[in-house]
């Protein structure tokens, strides 16, 4: 329609730029739709290098809504931040569908054909008036001559009553002025109203004398005739063709004559000579090509990749306080670049700045790992695992060696906590102590690795790196909960994956792109595979998301992406990217461009321009067929219930003499009880039309720099040429998805990727030795801590990759080493080892480790005998009292003694007892637990109801087992709580305590209970012991 009308075929441009002096043209033309969407740009750049189009709105309206008269006083302002989301952005044809919070007015080009209640086509320009602001297209004439304006206004909105109409005006005036305004001259006006099938208005203004700088305005306004509230947000398609005959266009600018003077008076003070902000020198063309901290700023002939123009065009440069460029000055630079950046400078040696040098790539952690040979050592008899060779080699170089092997009681306790997060049972301890066969230790390792508790322990470590929580939003209010319904399936997925020893590469791929690995969109049922893959993407759904509220603008959407970047880069890549959101990395060769290229992988799903709010971003946990079946069943039930309820009303009206009502009511209750429901999978999946990703200056999404495409960090890719990426893998893709995250997943798990395997091996090491080979598990780059044994990390990384990415195999390698089995104790006197290596970086002994908060709670429950080992399912609820003293919610079911990994995980309010023992606040994720020693911990140990209860239960359980003879009680309590027998002196101290304490209680006239009370106190104190909190 619109197009057909206007297909006054675009006349061949008669004037060609770049040819000598001023030259009269017969006529020049500007067509809105063509120039907006012809792929040239959304910057409203025309064929001649001018930028004549503007989008504006009125400043205000006045009067009550019913009698609203739109201000027609020329107070027009450019659309700015308050409606930034709509300015200069490709608008998706389906924005109404995905986000009703987008506020009119807005203007933009349609990027996808849309056919629903309102139809529009790709390539059209939509103008939508707001409730208080008319939307305005403006065209500033770059030439003088005689103007003809032809165009159409087509209100497509059919809904919403008598006032679903728009007023439109074609006006002429001076430049928009927000303060003083002006009286525009109206050239044409009318009403467009699709409701009465007269939607399309045409206008035709001819023979208008026009000069350079004159403005033509097309105003689209919500219509109010005083009879009803005007309907705003009407989607209105607009097209305009402006033809200037006898136009005169200026000659193309040259660098020395035209461009340099503009730069000299506006830019060179900061970007030339001795001062070179952002390391940028604009004095020469080669300096521009070389570029600054953001890379090259000039691509001759290409405005869209010339940062110089991006910054000037968007008004970000020069900075406000340094003044602004006039339209004419901007025009000079724009036309100079688009005309090929003519200069007489010799550019044959000009080159583009490189951010990643060959030397950068040589850093060991940025190169794919190679497996070094096992070194020769003096005492190979000590080695029980390949890793011992590397450790012993380094120790021997210093004349040191391992400490003695720890006692068997210590080893069984250490292994049990490390692998299952629970103390060994007395039976497990006895069995191991009695098993004197040669492979007893290895068998114990295998038994523990096979335990379902292993996944709960190691899954929890992974949940830390992911920042797993059961809430969405930011959890700022202690007493209110916003559950992320169904996210617990992802927790279960993690635990099951660890228990099954799923290949680690597959584990990562599923979490990043499970939805792109199966064709769930066309599936009628969720197969177990589909379920698993969809649930796995919960990895990307623990991010704090504030966008559920209408007030938040696009910046909050980007916050989600930024947080996710931090989580993904620290959990999988082991590189800290946060800094590069705003600037190039100071220490690691990671650029700002790298950051946004990586972010681009996620913008097809977390699409800021087609945003799903957190409450909308889920998939039912049953397939479409089952879901339809449930819906149908429930509809039937509802139908029956409705009928019965009408019947009840009738009966009640009539007095219900037969007494039928109560029976019917029961039927209603039963029927309602027969309703079925389905749950939610918190998944990530693509939405249509991925946007163009831009570098954001200083990380501010309102300050767009150059566009980028998805890509991997340069320093981690083998190419030495900037911008060049790994050859893209051709992956089979199910329909409806972009494959972006799948590509990322394959790159991350590629054996060429230098960091992935090293990162997880470092974490494994960290949890077994209490310290990583690199002490910063989230950053193994140059900016992280220096590695103690890079050769071990490399050896293990390769072994891991070659061994099928099996974590359990790697556990075995570490746990069967002599290094792991060493005692953590130091002799009373300083040894040479301690003098040379006080921090134990060489591992001449094991490290003592304090248990994490969850494990402390689990171990206490285990000691009390009330630990409940049920696995999986919805989280155990917690109370939310105003005091902040949250507890497991005993009213909420019978899961209060389940393992801590199943307790409802809050972002800011972990279970109080666990918070006191350093459960992290999950702002994003947790790379490394803090380990504090505070008096609040002592208080919780001494006085919390939880501890008192646990101690009492432990005491009762022991008394039931062994009777009340003090010596037996002491021995059994040591075995139950500390996993060993008491020493002579300890036994004595405890016996003395029991008798004195019992006497004390007896004196309080609690004779019959005195002994039991004293023993409960003893158990309580054993549970408070340092020995209980630490693993040797």
């Amino acid at each position: 329609m619109v197009r057909a009308l206007l297909v006054a075929v675009l006349t061949v441009i008669c004037w060609a730029p770049g040819v000598g002096a001023e030259e009269p043209a017969k006529h020049a033309q500007w067509r809105l739709v063509a120039e907006q969407v012809n792929g040239k740009s959304h910057r409203a750049e025309d064929e001649y290098g001018y930028e004549p189009w503007r989008f504006l709105r009125t400043t205000s309206s006045e009067g009550p809504v019913a009698a609203r008269r739109w201000i027609r006083d020329g107070k027009y302002v450019p659309l700015d931040h308050s409606s930034e989301r709509l300015f200069n952005q490709p608008i998706l044809g389906s924005i109404y569908q995905v986000d009703p919070t987008w506020k009119a007015p807005f203007v933009g080009g349609v990027t996808a054909t849309h056919t629903a209640d309102v139809t529009w086509k790709k390539g059209e320009v939509l103008v939508t008036p707001g409730p208080e602001h008319a939307a305005i297209l403006a065209w500033q004439s770059p030439v003088s001559g005689v103007l003809a304006i032809r165009g159409t206004v087509d209100n497509r909105q059919t809904c919403c009553g008598v006032n679903s109409q728009v007023n439109w005006y074609v006006e002429r005036g001076s430049s928009p002025d927000v303060v003083n305004g002006f009286k525009p001259v109206t050239l044409a006006q009318g009403i467009s109203d699709d409701r009465v099938k007269q939607g399309v208005s045409r206008f035709d203004v001819l023979d208008l004398e026009i000069s350079v700088g004159d403005y033509i305005y097309i105003v689209v306004d919500a219509r109010a005739d005083g009879t009803a509230t005007p309907h705003h947000g009407d989607a209105t398609a607009v097209d305009v063709l402006l033809t200037v005959s006898g136009a005169t266009l200026p000659p193309p600018p040259t660098f020395k004559q035209d461009v340099l003077p503009v730069l000299a008076s506006n830019c060179l003070e900061c970007h030339g000579g001795d001062v070179r902000e952002a390391d940028l020198d604009l004095r020469t063309v080669s300096g521009m090509i070389f570029g600054g901290e953001s890379g090259s700023v000039l691509t001759p002939g290409k405005l869209e990749t010339s940062y110089l123009w991006t910054m000037i065009q968007s008004g970000q440069m020069p900075p406000q306080e340094a003044g602004t460029l006039s339209a004419a000055e901007k025009g000079v630079i724009r036309r100079w670049i688009s005309g090929g950046a003519a200069t007489d400078e010799d550019l044959t040696k000009a080159r583009v700045r490189e951010f990643v040098s060959a030397e950068d790539r040589e850093y060991w952690a940025f190169q794919p790992p190679r497996q070094p040979p096992l070194p020769a050592i003096r005492n190979p008899g000590l080695a029980t695992s390949p890793i011992d060779y590397f450790l012993l080699k380094r120790l021997e170089e210093k004349g040191l060696t391992y400490s003695a092997t720890a006692s068997r009681e210590t080893l069984v306790r250490r292994l049990a906590f490390d692998l299952t997060g629970l103390p060994p049972t007395t039976r497990q301890v006895d069995a191991f102590l009695e098993d004197t066969s040669p492979g007893a230790y290895e068998k114990l390792v295998d038994r523990l690795l096979a335990s379902p508790r292993y996944g709960e322990r190691w899954g929890r470590h992974w949940m830390d790196t992911v920042g797993y929580v059961d809430v969405r939003l930011y959890d700022g209010d202690a007493t209110t909960l916003y559950p992320n319904e169904g996210i617990w399936r992802y927790r279960d997925y993690i635990i099951r994956s660890f228990n099954a020893d799923k290949r680690y590469d597959q584990f990562l791929q599923e979490q990043l792109a499970g939805d792109e690995m199966v064709n769930w969109r066309d599936a009628s049922e969720w197969t177990p595979e589909i379920m698993e893959k969809l649930v796995a993407t919960g990895y990307l759904r623990s991010i704090e998301d504030h966008t559920s509220e209408a007030q938040y603008g696009i910046e909050r959407r980007y916050e989600v992406l930024f947080d996710m970047m931090t989580m993904v880069s620290t959990s999988m890549l082991g590189l800290t990217f946060e800094c590069t959101r705003c600037h190039n990395h100071k220490y690691d060769p990671i650029t700002q461009r790298d950051y946004y290229r990586l972010m681009s992988f996620f913008e097809s799903s977390y699409n800021p321009h087609a945003w799903l709010r957190p409450q909308e971003r889920w998939i039912p946990d049953v397939g479409p067929v089952a879901r339809a079946d449930i819906d149908r069943h429930n509809a039937e039930v509802d139908g029956k219930v409705n009928n019965l309820q009408s019947r009840i009303k009738e009966l009640e009206k009539d007095g219900d003499e037969a007494g039928q009502v109560s029976a019917i009511k029961k039927t209603v209750t039963d029927l309602n009880g027969s309703k079925r429901s389905y749950g939610k999978i918190q998944a990530l999946f693509d939405v249509p039309n991925p946007p163009v990703t831009h570098v954001f200056r200083r990380g501010d999404c309102f300050k767009r720099g150059l566009p980028v495409t998805p890509g991997f960090p340069e320093v981690l890719t083998p190419s030495a040429r900037p911008g060049q990426q790994l050859a893209r893998v051709e992956l089979p893709l199910p329909p409806g998805t972009s494959g972006r995250r799948l590509e990322l997943a394959h790159w991350i798990t590629s054996r060429q990727n230098p960091t992935t395997a090293r990162v997880i091996m470092n974490r494994l090491w960290f949890h077994h030795f209490g310290e990583g080979i690199i002490a910063t598990p989230d950053n193994i780059g140059r900016n992280g801590a220096p590695p103690s044994h890079p050769e071990i990390l490399d050896w293990m990384a390769v072994e891991f990759q070659q061994g099928g990415w099996s974590l359990k195999k790697m556990h075995r390698l570490v746990l069967t080493s002599r290094a792991y089995r060493q005692t953590s104790r130091r002799p009373a006197e300083l040894t040479r080892a301690e003098q040379l290596d006080p921090d134990n970086r060489l591992l001449w002994r094991q490290n003592m480790k304090r248990l994490e908060s969850e494990i402390i709670r689990d171990a206490l429950l285990a000691a009390s005998g009330r630990l409940d080992l049920h696995s999986f399912g919805p989280p155990v609820p917690v109370t939310r009292p105003v005091s902040g003293l949250s507890m497991v919610d005993a009213e909420g079911g019978n899961g209060q003694n389940r393992r801590s990994v199943y307790i409802f995980a809050r972002r800011v309010y972990p279970l109080k007892f666990m918070e006191i023992f350093d459960s992290p606040i999950m702002a994003i994720n947790c790379s490394r637990r803090m380990n504090s020693t505070t008096v609040l911990q002592s208080f919780a140990q001494l006085n919390s109801d939880f501890m008192i209860g646990v101690a009492g239960d432990a005491a009762r359980r022991i008394e039931q087992a062994v009777g009340n003879e003090p010596a037996k009680l002491v021995r059994s309590s040591y075995r139950t709580i500390l996993g060993r027998l008491p020493g002579e002196e300890e036994q004595q101290a405890c016996l003395e305590f029991l008798s004195v304490q019992a006497v004390g209680y007896a004196a309080e006239s609690q004779d019959e209970k005195a002994g039991a009370l004293a023993f409960a106190d003893l158990c309580h104190m054993l549970l408070c012991m340092n020995e209980f909190l630490y693993v040797e």
Binding site: P787, A923, T934, E985, N1026
Partner: protein
């Protein structure tokens, strides 16, 4: 580069090593007799609360922050704008950044009389007569501005210098930098309404990625002063007998722990825990003592409004705050009543009544705190701060409210070397934007640090490879505002 060389590469290992070696609490250090002040920038082999000597000679030793969350309306309380009254009901000339959807671009007049008080002529609105009476003690900053116009982010900005949460609060930074003078109480104490949390809850006093030692510790004005201070079955004063049995239990624990420690020489964390149990016993007494308000005389209790149900709650917290700084606590944060709302200064509608209601609750106790500190000679060394997270805008929300404003708000400072009787900066004719002598939140942080003797450009903590600082001066341009200081 060979691995050996890398092992010797220079790297600021100390803090990481310290993290790795876990934290040591003050008790452990006390045991080792290290209570003399160490330098603030000295190498940290442990995290503790012992006093440290600051960068400069300090003008103040403690801070009481009276946080007025919600965003007190500057143009109704502190910053007289005759234009608002003159042009009431007329369209606002220009664009105003709003947060809520229900704003009209119509000027909303000032709702209270604002007039000069004291010798200095500082302006206060009618709802705050007691605070106005202390005009010559306040230092009023009318040109504050911040970066975000929604509560959680603006609160984070004010408390931690970053408009998102997960970063250490100012109180965490200060106690990390300076430690505390009282080793029997936490260095950073939070006093909130026992009825619940204000906006953002305890994220406001989080230590972020710093050790938990530096997070704000909630002290309750009812029941247990600290979580788990006493057993719930024995609310406060345990009987003589149970005290004796507890003592015997503790003796056993201490004995067993010490035997355990003998097996683990130089695991200092174990010793710290032993000391912490001992400190717990001392703290039970110290907390009871410092919070025993019955030790205050009738005149003082009346001064704080504790004889009146309207002011009693907030008055109690203000008085507790005084007692805490008096006993050497470094940083005390007081939150307003949850009545009328958990963000009581958030006047979106019914502005006049709302402001009056919350003013009635906080005005008198606030003034009492200044009076009391002054007469005890404490105001010279204690900084008092009365502030919201942002201000409000000149136009009308609904029919009788104002929306959030990040471009201007008013903060009151007193004591600790802040210039008394001085009004700093100015907003435009409508109170919408700070235009003269603008003070950013990081500027204010830097200035408070200066008075405590801390150089805000130097006090740092290594996190994720970055030397983090509260004010991030290179990013925020934070600077000490010398004009605010004596």
């Amino acid at each position: 580069m060979s691995s050996n060389e890398m092992n010797h590469a220079p790297y600021p290992l100390s803090r990481r090593a310290a993290l790795a070696a876990c934290s040591m609490s003050l008790g452990g250090l006390a045991m080792r007799g290290l209570l003399h002040a160490e330098a603030i920038d000295g190498q940290r082999t442990s995290y503790d609360m012992k006093p440290r000597s600051p960068h400069f000679r300090p003008k103040a030793r403690a801070v009481i922050q009276l946080f007025q969350n919600g965003g007190p309306s500057q143009m109704d309380l502190f910053d007289p704008k005759p234009e608002l009254t003159r042009q009431a009901g007329k369209p606002y000339p220009g664009a105003v950044e709003t947060f809520q959807l229900g704003n009209k671009n119509i000027i909303f007049p000032t709702q209270f009389e604002i007039k000069p008080h004291g010798v200095c002529g500082m302006n206060f609105g009618a709802p705050l007569p007691h605070m106005a009476a202390m005009a010559d003690d306040w230092c009023m900053v009318r040109s504050m501005y911040t970066v975000n116009n929604n509560h959680p982010f603006a609160i984070s900005m004010f408390q931690s210098g970053k408009p998102f949460f997960g970063y250490p609060a100012m109180g965490s930074w200060i106690t990390y930098g300076l430690g505390s003078e009282n080793q029997d109480l936490p260095g950073y104490i939070v006093l909130r309404d026992p009825a619940g949390y204000n906006t953002s809850g305890k994220a406001v006093w989080s230590s972020g990625w710093m050790p938990a030692l530096y997070q704000g510790t909630e002290f309750n004005s009812q029941g247990n002063a600290v979580h788990h201070l006493h057993r719930s079955s024995r609310p406060s004063q345990a009987s003589q007998a149970s005290q004796a049995s507890d003592r015997r239990s503790m003796q056993l624990l201490s004995r067993l722990n010490r035997q355990h420690s003998l097996l683990h020489p130089r695991e200092y964390e174990l010793e710290a825990r032993i000391a912490n149990f001992e400190m717990a016993a001392r703290m039970q007494l110290a907390a009871a003592d410092v919070l025993d308000l019955s030790k205050e005389n009738e005149e003082t209790r009346a001064l704080y409004g504790m004889d009146n149900p309207t002011t009693a709650g907030y008055g109690t917290r203000c008085l507790m705050a005084r007692r805490l700084v008096e006993s050497g606590v470094r940083y005390v944060q007081v939150f307003p009543p949850l009545n009328p709302s958990f963000q009581p200064w958030d006047s979106h509608g019914n502005l006049k009544n709302g402001i009056q209601a919350i003013s009635d609750r906080v005005d008198k106790p606030t003034a009492a705190l200044i009076t009391d500190l002054k007469r005890r000679g404490l105001l010279d060394e204690v900084i008092v701060m009365w502030t919201g997270e942002f201000g409000r805008i000149p136009i009308t929300e609904g029919s009788d409210g104002r929306d959030h404003n990040r471009n201007a708000f008013t903060t009151l400072m007193a004591g600790g070397g802040f210039k008394p009787g001085y009004t700093h900066g100015a907003t435009d004719d409508f109170g919408y934007k700070a235009i003269e002598d603008r003070v950013s939140v990081p500027d204010l942080h830097a200035t408070i640090f200066r008075q405590l003797g801390i150089d805000h450009t130097r006090l740092s903590f290594l996190n994720k490879g970055r030397q983090e600082r509260l004010t991030d001066p290179e990013v925020t341009g934070a600077r000490v505002v010398g004009d605010l200081l004596v």
